[in-house]
Amino acid sequence: MTEKTPLLEVRNLWVKLPDEEEAIIRGLNLTINAGEVHALMGPNGSGKSTLAKVLSGHPGYEVTDGEVLFRGEDILELEPDDRARMGLFLAFQYPMEVPGVTIANFLRLAYQRRFDTEVKYTEFYKILLQHLKKLEMDPSFAGRPVNEGFSGGEKKRFEIVQLSLLEPLLAVLDETDSGLDIDALKIVSNGVNAMRSPERSFLVITHYQRILNYITPDYVHVMVEGRIVRSGGPELALQLEEKGYDWVRGELAGATAP
């Protein structure tokens, strides 16, 4: 076995909402090495999206225990923008609208921050157009307000445009496939596959196996009630598709029964 560099290490992570008792994530462990693609599957309410947000530093959650190391550094105290500049990226399940702010103005700032550089507007415009083209988005999107008036599919594609532009080391895709028709799914998957490299890792969060036909994962994890209950290769996703989440739930119940 060749030596692997861990990019993300989540150890015994416990997360809850500030004004609630019950934890949403309950002792989760996950290691993603450089260059790997991991799929995280699970039924609704299992805590997948919460994990995605906590990794990116969403202020609405409270981490009560555990640690998250990214590139060897504990990032739990860092602001979302610090994490982004380190190369962490979250493709949102529900991308936010920012009225009046053009994609070009927004992403030029993001680009300058990510790469700690200054880029002239005209220069950046050319760069942006290349990435829009990759995701088959019209150049006119550059001048449109961020996500405002976009269809569901356009919003998801635009998330991958940002992924492509910002070249993160770890990209977390939070249900990017939901609400996409098959053509859009292919475009998005091609965009992601084109980004795969020995340095870059992906955590693909999904409810369905479908996207994994296009983005082949190295590992599949199943999350139920706030922790990973099963891990395996791509075949696990197919088993899930076939047997449904009740299958893992049943196994889980069996395992914890006295």
Binding site: G60, P80, A84, V98, P99, L109
Partner: protein, 469 residues
């Protein structure tokens, strides 16, 4: 600088605008307001009798009117502490070389001569009570355009001034209009002959330098039939911890088929009480547009108005207010529909931050006979903090049946999710907020010439600085 540069977050008001000059004025009146002070101002200006009488009458009206109690808190404004007239220099320059060195340096720092060279048709620069520089490009002068300070106009164009001065806003209109009428000094006089279109802006810049100063400029714009002019004003003042008062009166006459656009970027320091009366009368098929940006001051009360006097007249009022810590921006607009088939629109966008309060106050009045008047009012308020406040006072009086009046008001808060989204792309929290705010005012910023849109954006960035605790 073709694009608003959101990244310039490193300057602050004090350094950029809040400096002051150690200048000994050539003359100033004693503190406080008396009949003698009014007489002294008139004497200093060597005015005709009619103007002196106008001032003295206005003074009596000012003394007899109570302080308005319906608006923001003005209790810290002490009329006895204000110096009503401060003359910084003996004469006015037509070239910047003729302006005293210290004062010229100030305007250089504010970038005025540079802007003039780049894209303005003419510039007036007022320093405390007097206009120290005034110039109009030859091209416009040759076409009969007049652009001088109002004191000069009283001397050189007495008939024109006498015909219109105080006709749109008489001294008894309100207490501060009376005050201005009594002690006015400086301001611009603009006359655009019929059919002449001044297609690049005229700009006036108002600078308060002295402590406890009162600045009372008086502006009169006459646009003859079928003409066009865009007048822009900007203003700043040093940061003192004492109150200053700025109380202007602006009167505009828009004749048939003419169009006047009046843009303000108000950036007074936070010691200034800014209590201004602005009004235009618009005749047949003319267009009057107010673009009113209020960023600075402690308290601003300003409701630019348009009286639509003849069929086809149109009034547009765009108002942007930014109320930061301790500021109260009480702004809006008034449209008076006095003739059939007149149209108008008021669009107000306000941002409240920290303990700031932004109030929209507006009047839409349709007089009897003004059938088929159409009016739309839209107010958008954005709250950035828990303590920030906004309120709306929309007054609507309709005395005619066949009219179309729309009113919409929205209040929104910057959501944590929006900020998180932008932060997750590497933007710092204050950059994210600034971006959201600039997006909020974008519909108005795009109405401005590029240079002013950039300026407005930059001023708002300045206000947003350090907004993340």
């Amino acid at each position: 600088m073709a694009q608003p540069d959101i990244l310039n977050l490193d300057q602050d008001y004090k350094q950029k605008y809040g400096f002051y000059d150690e200048i000994k004025p050539v003359f100033q009146t004693e503190r406080g307001l008396t009949r003698r002070v009014v007489e002294e101002i008139s004497y200093q200006k060597n005015e005709p009798k009619w103007m002196r009488d106008f001032r003295l009458e206005a003074y009596e009206i000012f003394m007899s009117k109570p302080m308005p109690s319906w608006g923001p808190d003005l209790s810290r404004l002490d009329f006895d502490e204000i110096v009503y007239y401060i003359k910084p220099t003996e004469r006015q320059g037509r070239s910047w070389d003729e302006v005293p060195e210290d004062i010229k340096r100030t305007f250089d720092r504010l970038g005025i001569p540079e802007w003039e060279r780049k894209f303005l048709a003419g510039v007036g620069a007022q320093y405390d009570s007097e206009v120290v520089y005034h110039n109009l490009a030859k091209q416009w002068e040759e076409q009969g355009v007049i652009f001088v300070d109002t004191d000069t106009a009283v001397r050189e164009y007495p008939d024109l001034v006498k015909e219109y001065f105080g006709t749109v806003i008489p001294p008894n209109d309100n207490k501060f209009a009376a005050l201005n009428s009594a002690v006015w000094s400086g301001g611009s006089f603009v006359y655009v002959p019929a059919g002449v279109k001044v297609d690049i802006p005229l700009q006036a810049y108002f600078r308060i330098n002295a402590r406890n100063a009162g600045q009372f400029e008086r502006t009169l714009i006459i646009a003859e039939e079928g003409s066009f002019v865009h007048y822009v004003e900007g203003c700043t003042a040093p940061v003192y911890a004492e109150e200053a008062l700025h109380s202007a009166v602006v009167e505009i006459i828009v004749k048939r088929g003419a169009r006047v656009r009046y843009t303000t970027i108000q950036n007074w320091s936070k010691d200034v009480y800014n209590l201004v009366t602005k009004r235009a009368v618009a005749y047949g098929d003319s267009v009057m547009e107010w673009v009113d940006g209020n960023i600075g001051s402690r308290v601003t009360q300003k409701y630019p108005s348009v009286y639509l006097m003849e069929p086809g007249a149109r009034g547009e009022i765009l108002s942007v207010a930014f109320a930061g810590d301790g500021q109260h921006q009480d702004t809006g607009g008034k449209l008076i529909f006095a003739a059939p088939n007149t149209t108008g629109r008021i669009t107000s966008k306000s941002i409240s931050k920290g303990t700031g309060r932004a109030s929209y106050r507006g009047l839409v009045q349709v007089l009897e006979g003004a059938h088929h008047a159409k009016c739309n009012v839209e107010c958008d308020a954005l709250l950035l903090d828990e303590d920030a406040k906004t309120d709306t006072y929309p007054y609507i009086e309709i005395n005619e049946k066949e009219v179309t009046i729309g009113h919409e008001a929205r209040v929104s808060k910057v959501s944590d999710e929006q900020i998180f989204y932008l932060q997750s792309r590497g933007l710092k929290k204050d950059e994210a907020l600034t971006l959201i705010v600039s997006g909020f005012i974008e519909p108005l910023a795009k109405q401005l010439p590029m240079e002013y849109a950039v300026e407005l954006n930059r001023l708002i960035e300045l206000e947003m600085e350090g907004s993340v605790g």
